[in-house]
């Protein structure tokens, strides 16, 4: 196995760092005086600058330095955090991404413009005159009261250098605080063959005489404080005057505190080290490879089960059952490895909403719910763009301007709620707003004028609302850079359907709209119900199966022309798959009806035989079959034959259409 490319590792970590910075900045917009967030943003910028310089991203480091300086001034209280400053750094942060992705690109003009904005934001925030700074600095020295001698022993997190911290810079900062004697401790440096050369195993013992307070010493380590071992002890105080009051932090007290805190600090460090040891960063493609292997294993195991079932060898059967159990467990474990919380998906919308709020002049509150719901990583990756379209549409078309909302008796601030929850084998992601709702008349008029529907065509409310997902459909009266070009909603639908998902839409005039995406939890292996229709085998996703009934020959004959079965006082339409697939075979004497559902819609599928449950490794259909919407994929059975996987959504739609036609025919 080769070592990962350090530049590529840096890019990944820098991208995560930028996300953290963005998150911190967005949190700051809600509470501008939040010291923890200010420190977190500053630390993020500092680390990015340091590691950028170390890995040769000089333009990124130089640009980030300006933002770091601005936040350093905020941190020190020289300038207040303002919305203008936060916005300027947010814009700058986007530019940092560009500098990270294309370090050799021509970024000078953009850099200059952004830095100009940043400086205006800082200076506009009221940069204090040098005299004022001196005045604020004075009380600190006064408070210290005199010269203290400190003993500082520390060792940095082993990965500090690899993460961009320059230990020599920390030592220089220490020297800036006062008279310093620094002695390196090299006892823990291992032999060369055992050394990971980017780790740091050197510790330091520093004796510092300074008038500065303890907080200033701790400040030197602000970026590595969380994971390092640090012991600061005040060993002597020299009072400035004979009348000086007793020291606020007497030696004995400092020592006691240090001793009392030591076990707790050690325990915290141990816990952090244990936590970091529990996590391993694995490239997503390796997980995909492993998933493919598990898929092949499941197919091979299926063959083994089939062979063992026909053999008289009890030992073989026993081993086969054991392997079946183990491969099932392996599959489940693999599935969990690929799962990620939707929080990683939702977090990016905070920035989007922030930007759109400023762009449109609308006051928007983004509420996220169910962020811990987990979905397959591929689903998360593929859903990002569709959700951006949906949120943009909610904000652009749905939410009204504040004055319009007030006139309608609503709060000036509109709400967009992003939520996720799991039901069975699906996750439902909902985008809801409390805006004006979808104007049905305008949707119908636009669809008629575009030739999507015939004038005066009879449509159910859901069908009417679904028209907004048609290619080229837009009701926006003006094209904006947010939406209104008719591009997007059809792409949303295609993407969701490619994920074997569905979109439901609901809207109440004046109250808002709600778009729900139902997406399978995973795309690789599903639990399926294997059925036979004629001579062919088919798989129905088990998550969609509600129940199975027997359809006697008499019932079958009686229901011809109607194709409804009565199921606990409700009529459920059914489809004869033998007819749909034109098998040309006679029905089995004891046919079965498999009742499937998506949401509130149900349909029965008449099959010849139910073979049983089946772990289904999904294989894509060829390009030649892309327009066959009855099947979502194929799988290989134990005997090597192929079974097609039924697309439940399209079958239910076909059943509902049949029901509508029969009802219309009376």
């Amino acid at each position: 196995m080769t070592n990962p490319d350090p530049i590529s590792v840096f890019r990944t970590e820098a991208a995560e760092l930028l996300e953290q910075i963005e998150s911190g900045l967005l949190d700051l917009t809600r509470s501008l005086d939040d010291r923890d967030q200010i420190d977190a943003v500053f630390r993020g910028l500092h680390t990015l600058k340091g590691s950028g310089a170390m890995f040769g991203f000089d333009a990124l480091a130089a640009f980030t330095h300006h933002c770091e300086t601005a936040f350093d001034r905020v941190r020190k209280g020289d300038v207040p955090a303002t919305h203008e400053l936060v916005s300027a750094v947010l814009s700058a942060q986007d530019h940092m991404r560009a500098l990270l992705e294309t370090p050799n690109g021509d970024h000078d003009a953009m850099s200059a413009a952004l830095l100009d904005g940043l400086h205006r934001a800082v200076n506009g925030a009221g940069s204090p005159a040098p005299a004022a700074v001196a005045a604020t600095a004075a009380p600190v020295a006064e408070a210290a009261g005199g010269l203290s001698e400190w003993r500082i022993r520390f060792s940095l997190p082993v990965n500090a250098m690899a993460n961009g911290t320059n230990p020599l810079g920390l030592l220089d900062e220490m020297r800036d605080l006062g008279e310093c004697r620094i002695v390196a401790d090299t006892a823990k440096v291992p032999e060369l063959s055992a050394l990971e050369p980017r780790d740091i195993h050197i510790g330091w013992d520093v004796t510092l005489k300074t008038e500065r307070p303890r907080a200033d010493i701790e400040d030197v380590f602000i970026f590595v404080m969380d994971d390092m071992e640090l012991e600061i002890t005040e060993v002597a105080v020299e009072r400035a005057t004979a009348e000086a009051k007793p020291a606020e932090t007497p030696i004995a007290k400092a020592v006691v505190v240090a001793e009392r805190d030591a076990p707790a600090v050690q325990a915290a460090n141990d816990s952090k080290q244990a936590k970091s040891a529990e996590n391993v960063r694995v490239p997503a493609e390796r997980l995909d490879e492993m998933m493919d292997r598990v898929g092949e294993l499941v197919i091979a195991q299926s063959r083994l089960t089939q062979l063992a079932g026909t053999a008289a060898d009890l030992g073989l059967r026993s081993v086969s059952e054991e392997i079946e159990r183990l491969s099932g467990e392996l599959r489940d474990t693999m599935m969990v490895l690929r799962m990620m919380p939707v929080a990683s998906l939702f977090s990016r919308f905070r920035r989007l909403v922030h930007d759109l709020s400023r762009e449109t002049g609308k006051e928007i509150e983004l509420i996220t719910e169910g962020e811990s719901t987990e979905v397959d990583k591929t689903v998360i990756d593929r859903l990002a763009d569709p959700l951006v379209h949906l949120v943009r549409n909610s904000i652009d078309h749905g939410l009204e301007k504040p004055e319009e909302r007030i006139a309608a008796g609503k709060e000036a601030k509109g709400q967009v709620i992003l939520s996720a929850h799991q039901t069975g084998g699906e996750v439902i992601i909902t985008i809801k707003d409390d805006g004006r709702g979808i104007n049905r008349e305008r949707v119908r008029a636009k669809a008629e004028s575009s030739g999507i529907i015939q004038p005066g065509a009879t449509l159910t409310d859901q069908d009417l609302l679904q028209l907004i997902f048609q290619p080229g459909f837009s009701t926006a009266q003006a094209v904006t850079n947010l939406s209104g070009r008719g591009v997007g909603m059809d792409v949303v639908k295609k993407t969701v359907e490619a994920l074997r998902g569905t979109i439901d839409i609901a809207s109440k005039p004046g109250e808002g709209s709600e778009v729900s995406l139902r997406i399978p939890l995973t795309l690789a292996i599903i639990e399926g119900l294997l059925v036979r229709v004629g001579q062919g085998c088919y798989v129905i996703p088990l998550s969609a199966v509600e129940e199975c009934l027997e359809l006697s020959l008499e019932d079958d004959l009686r229901s011809r022309g109607r194709s409804f079965i009565s199921l606990r006082d409700s009529l459920v339409p059914f489809l004869r798959l033998r007819e749909l697939f034109r098998t040309g075979t006679q029905p089995d004497p004891h046919q079965k009806v498999v009742v499937i559902s998506t949401g509130s819609e149900r349909v029965g599928l008449v099959v010849d035989q139910i073979i049983g449950d089946h772990q289904t490794v999904i294989k894509s259909m060829s390009k030649l079959h892309h327009d066959v919407d009855t099947f979502s994929g194929a799988t290989i059975l134990g005997d090597g034959s192929v079974a097609l996987i039924l697309d439940v959504t399209h079958l239910v739609a076909a059943g509902q259409q049949q029901e509508a036609q029969l009802r219309a025919a009376g």
Binding site: N3, M54, G56, M161, L171, T186, A194, L195, P197, I202
Partner: protein, 108 residues
């Protein structure tokens, strides 16, 4: 050079001895020590050096000494290397052995 013995083989190091190149420098020295019991490190006065290299040299010394070999510097530390030793706190409280190794000072 001080205290070199017959059999001490010179190893000329690249001019960038920082964390960017430290993995390949480690491989270079390890490979050399596998073939030679002693290495005399020839570090260009203008070489770029950071703390990772100083740590690497210390690790190399430990390894060589544990195997009855040794590592030496071809000339006293100067340039960037001296600067790193100074800023890193290696000169304050330096043992006679370390002073002999890094600065070629005579042991008393």
């Amino acid at each position: 050079m001080s205290s070199t013995l017959p059999g001490d083989a010179p190893l000329t190091l690249p001019t960038t001895l920082t964390i960017k190149t430290i993995v390949s420098v480690q491989e270079l020295i390890l490979d050399f020590l596998n073939k030679n019991p002693a290495a005399v490190l020839d570090i260009d006065e203008a070489a770029q050096v950071d703390l990772s290299f100083v740590q690497l040299v210390m690790a190399a010394r430990k390894q060589a000494e544990a195997r009855a070999g040794r590592v030496l510097l071809a000339r006293p530390a100067s340039g960037d290397l001296y600067d790193v030793l100074k800023r890193g706190g290696f000169l304050d409280g330096m043992t006679p052995d370390a002073a002999h190794f890094w600065l070629h000072q005579e042991k008393n």
